[in-house]
Amino acid sequence: MSEPTGVIHDIGYQRYTGPRLGRRHVFGALYLHGLRTAFGLGRSAKAKIFPWLVIGIVTLVAAGVTAVRSQLGEVVMTYAQFADNMSWLVIFFVAVVAPELVSRDLHSGVLPLYFSRPLPRGDYALAKLAALGSALWLLLGAPQLVMFLGAAFTTKDGMSGVWDELLDLLPGLLYAALWAVVFASVGLLIASLTGKRAFAAGGVVAVFLMTAPIVGILSIMPSRTVNELAMLGSPTALVHAVGQYTLGDLLVPGGQTGNQLGGFGPLYVAVAVLLVAACVALLFARYRKVAAR
């Protein structure tokens, strides 16, 4: 019998004397975890299917639009319009990912483990919101980058053509950010109300889709003022209206429509800001209650 060559020593419990990182790092860790969760990274294969299916579709659309433009010279949609045309996919993406981010934590009861750590409860909500917002922005922004690259490499005007494209792209990315912020705050608030993922997903879809008919009804009412205010009726229309007001012909190519908003453009911007602020405030209030339970 040979002598054992290696011995495993139980070195016992080691106290930790190294650095403990501050609030910013903790927030960053939670944010990154949320962003990875949104795309199913570090999760089971089943959790990856839906996010990557959506990403596949938007990339495919962007590639198609780019191809048509470079081959036929026809602009199918502008950068800003791309976000509008993808609104259905965005809604379903929020409906799946928002519950994944917050309802799952409520359901599994993991929140006491978070709130017994040096993590302010507002930071938890904010990190999840930032994660969902970034995920949405990447979802809408990355395909625009594909479109931009396609256009930049096929432009016939040299550097000035590339520059013009860039000036078109930036408002498109800002508009995508508006979509991301509004949809993330509304979607996350709804999802944070229940621990049941199916209910949360249904709630998100309901709020975004069921409000669309309100806009339709208001816009055919026999009053011009009501028609001009119709787009306040749903979050989707609200974002579109703010886009129309701020981006003008980048979103609605010139001459296609008259001014649907009348003089209410600033009101739409104010309502959008208020909506986001109210959702964030309610989200904070929600987690103040959850944490004390």
Binding site: Y13, R20, L21, V26, G42, L113, S116, R117, P118, A292
Partner: protein
């Protein structure tokens, strides 16, 4: 240094339900047992110690810090194991504990190392790479303990750590808690409604009932007087009681049981002798596990 100190601590919910009433207690570092029946205010006290709930009135200090104003500093040095199921089923134990370590402020690589260490200390090895959803209750309790330990706290707050475990699992969990308190040098506050369990491992015992302090003392001072033998015979209970009284043993009736304070091993002999002399069929003779109820029974009427 005083580990935990409260001063006239009171917590009322909605002005009507009183969870804690005028609780004043101070405990030294070590293993502390917090016992009380369900609804006695144990979980409320823990939440106040963590700074998750604000007390209605009174003062509280944990590790020399005030959790109502300095909750982040307190929570950085405290580990908490909740009573209820609190693990997301689709994450592996290693991922979960690493993630929670980072939320406690550990750098990324340190969090991973310490998560493996913590899981190893609670007895989870290769299983830690499997999703928690497939774990047994005993393993889940161990993961909950590991996540409380990952950031090397100075104080562990364990809310019913033996909940749902079988007797062997309970013993293993209690041994683990005892090891943490003695070998690891971390103070532990163990909540339980079973006095018999915590008295085996703790140095100090704090008993509360209805939000009021019943007793807070060193374990040695508390248990010697409450050791009791339970005797059950199928017939002739009265005769046996009379005989034991004649032997100067202070017998009390509890239903079909006779309760005899256990002075020393001779008490066993006296009882067995009496049963044999009367030729009674003895059902059982065992040392009673102390329950919180017994502490309540001996309290002064002024508390009621």
């Amino acid at each position: 240094m005083t580990l935990i100190a409260t001063e006239s601590l009171t917590k009322r919910y909605g002005g009507t339900v009183t969870a804690l009433a005028d609780l004043t207690v101070a405990v030294e570092p070590g293993i502390i047992g917090l016992v009380g029946a369900n609804g006695a205010g144990k979980s409320t006290l823990i939440k106040i110690l963590l700074g998750l709930l604000a007390p209605t009135s009174g003062r509280v200090r944990v590790l020399g810090l005030d959790p109502t104003t300095d909750s982040a500093a307190v929570r950085a040095r405290v580990g908490y194991m909740p009573e209820h199921d609190s693990l997301p089923p689709d994450l592996t134990a290693a991922e979960l504990v690493t993630h929670l370590g980072r939320i406690s402020g550990l750098p990324r690589t340190v969090a991973r190392e310490r998560a493996s260490e913590a899981l190893r200390h609670v007895g989870l090895y290769e299983e830690r790479y499997r999703p928690v959803g497939g774990y047994s209750t005993g393993m889940k309790q161990r993961v909950k303990l590991a996540q409380a330990l990952v950031h090397d706290p100075d104080l562990l707050l364990l809310d019913e750590p033996t909940n749902g475990l079988d007797p062997a699992g309970r013993d293993a969990m209690l041994a683990l808690v005892h090891r943490i308190g003695t070998e690891f040098g971390i103070s532990v506050l163990v909540c339980s409604h079973l006095l018999g369990e915590v008295e085996r491992i703790c140095d100090t015992l704090v008993a509360i009932d209805g939000g009021r302090l019943l007793r807070a003392d060193h374990i040695s001072a508390m248990t010697t007087s409450t050791d009791v033998l339970a005797v059950e015979v199928s017939e002739g209970t009265e005769d046996l009681a009379a005989r034991l009284t004649a032997l100067q043993l202070p017998v009390t009736r509890d239903g079909r049981l006779l309760l005899v304070p256990l002075a020393d091993d001779a008490t066993y002999d006296l009882i067995l002798g009496a049963v044999a002399e009367l030729d009674l069929p003895l059902h059982r003779l065992d040392q009673r596990r102390h329950r919180v109820a017994e502490l309540f029974a001996t309290r002064e009427p002024s508390h009621v």
